[in-house]
């Protein structure tokens, strides 16, 4: 039997004289040991769907069973007990600032009435698991975002849960830290066998760690399946948009490049591709300063996300042959993709 199973699950919110359909007839199952990703744009109903899984929201219609228990049938006290077997982490970490890291991790243990000496022991163990040895007496206010999320993860795992729910757990982190946290989640899934359900608006997160993916739009799951399948043959419009967000758009066609090289005869035409990995400083101006070249942008599309640039630029470089070559080399060293027009 599946660990989590939803059959035609619907959630409506009644607000004033209006009804909001946040989750609309959703069906899916999550097997034990899986990492299941739900991707969708803001307002799609992802958080609501996730909150249904540990009973923070009540289903309006449909059947929802988790760990062989039908949540709708649980009484208040049973529901609280049931939640102790499910960990949850959040976009904004939601740690108690008034408690130290160690005390934060011990909170769920206190709630589960674990004896004091065992609590401390377990918390230290978790601290080690998430790679924060020695930071136990720090306060959350003294930690970086990535470290805070590690504390969040440690806290969520305190009571040996079978399931970990992640609500945009990496959305407040920079790309580098995101990858580290994702790596940690993957490790937890593999080593401890914890089933993970995560929601995100970044396809990147799905590609990095998920086995299965469901695409959500306006409360409905419009497409779901194996990550590789959904990625290689997206059917729905939303899915295609998400997939595009991941693979960088080749904004420039081959023949337009040829067109540029015929019309800009002064210098060399090159296409620079920024993938956000290394480009934390303004490389363009740095190259202009360092080498005796002029660079003019002909066409391009660049996005700044968390201090990193993503996108493509077509530039014309003018100057001595050697300087141009050195400048292009510099770009390559900085991790920028370089393609020179006319160079075969």
């Amino acid at each position: 039997m599946s660990l989590i199973s939803l059959k035609k699950v619907t959630k409506r919110f009644e607000v004033k004289n209006d009804t909001i359909l946040a989750v609309d007839q959703v069906d899916f199952t999550v097997e034990e040991g899986e990492i299941f990703g739900i991707v969708g744009y803001s307002g799609a109903g992802k958080s609501t769907l996730l909150r249904l899984l540990n009973g923070l929201e009540e289903t309006t219609e449909g059947r929802l069973t988790v760990n062989q228990q039908e949540i709708a049938h649980l009484k208040a006290k049973e529901l609280r007990q049931f939640r102790k077997d499910i960990g949850m982490i959040f976009q904004h970490f939601n740690l108690l600032w008034s408690r130290t890291v160690l005390e934060n991790i011990m909170l769920p243990l206190e709630l589960a009435k674990v004896p004091a000496d065992k609590r401390c022991e377990r918390a230290e163990e978790l601290l080690h698991l998430v790679g924060l040895d020695g930071r136990g007496s720090a306060y959350p206010g003294q930690l970086s975002g990535g470290q805070k999320q590690r504390v969040g993860i440690a806290r969520a795992l305190a009571n040996h849960p079978k399931i970990l729910l992640c609500d945009e757990a990496t959305s407040a982190l920079d790309p580098q830290t995101t990858d580290e946290v994702l790596q940690l989640l993957k490790q937890i899934n593999q080593d401890l066998g914890v089933t993970i359900v995560l929601i995100t608006h970044e396809m990147h997160v799905i590609r990095k760690i998920c086995h299965k993916v469901a695409v959500m739009e306006e409360g409905k799951i419009v497409e779901q399946g194996n990550v590789m399948e959904v990625f290689s043959h997206p059917k729905e419009e939303v899915t295609k948009r998400f997939v595009q967000q991941e693979t960088f758009p080749e904004v420039v066609e081959e023949n337009t490049l040829d067109y540029f090289s015929k019309n800009y005869t002064q210098g060399k035409i090159a296409q620079l591709t920024f993938r956000g990995e290394k480009s934390k400083h303004p490389i363009l101006s740095q190259v202009i300063k360092e080498f005796d070249v002029d660079i003019s942008v002909i066409q391009g599309q660049i996005q700044e996300i968390n201090h990193s640039s993503f996108g493509t630029l077509i530039v014309e470089l003018t100057g001595e042959e050697e300087e141009i070559r050195a400048a292009l080399n510099k770009f390559i060293l900085e991790g920028v993709g370089v393609e020179v027009v006319g160079d075969e």
Binding site: R83, K84, L96, W97, S98, L107, L111
Partner: protein
Amino acid sequence: MNNKGIKATYFDFSNLDAEKFKTATQETLMMTIVSMVFVIVLGLLLGLILYSLAKSNKKSSSFFYSVVSILSNIFRSIPFIILILLLIPFTKALLGTFLGAKAAIPALVISATPFYARLVEIAFREVDEGVLEAADGMGASKLEIVWKILLAESRPALISGITVTTITMIGFTAMAGAVGGGGLGQLAYYQGYMQGDLTTTLFATILILVIVFIIQWIGDLLVTRVDKR
């Protein structure tokens, strides 16, 4: 009155009675401390009730919230000097007298509790919604949420609320003194104003200021100590 006359009225030390100041200070402190104990306990309870009613989405809650809120606003708004007069029969029934430091306590508690309760409600509202969600997700009961989350996470605001309320309370004790409530207020009023001994009034004022500053200083110190944000 010429300058010398003013100087003589304010700085005529012949009538200063150290013993009287000592008792008066003790009375003021006693009134303040005893009343504050009640105010903190009752204010936390009332504040918690207001907070819970405002948060609950039951239909009846918003009605009860309005009732409690209006009542507490009324008691907060009655000028203290009038409240103390209004309460004379009540105080008499409760304590057998309406004179003296002890008799001022019911009025002090009744007027300061709604004030502190409002500060408590605001303090609780400022607790991060996400942290409450996290606690819910961990299976915390309502009582555990109050105890382990609300009270812990709002500590700086609760303490600075106590500081503000205590200082207001000192002002109230002085007023209570003027209608026979004892303490530095009574000393300043009877000895000073009624008997024309403004030196005593001046000294009582200085003592009250010193007490207020000390309370403020302790309060600020505690807030910086517990605030780890």
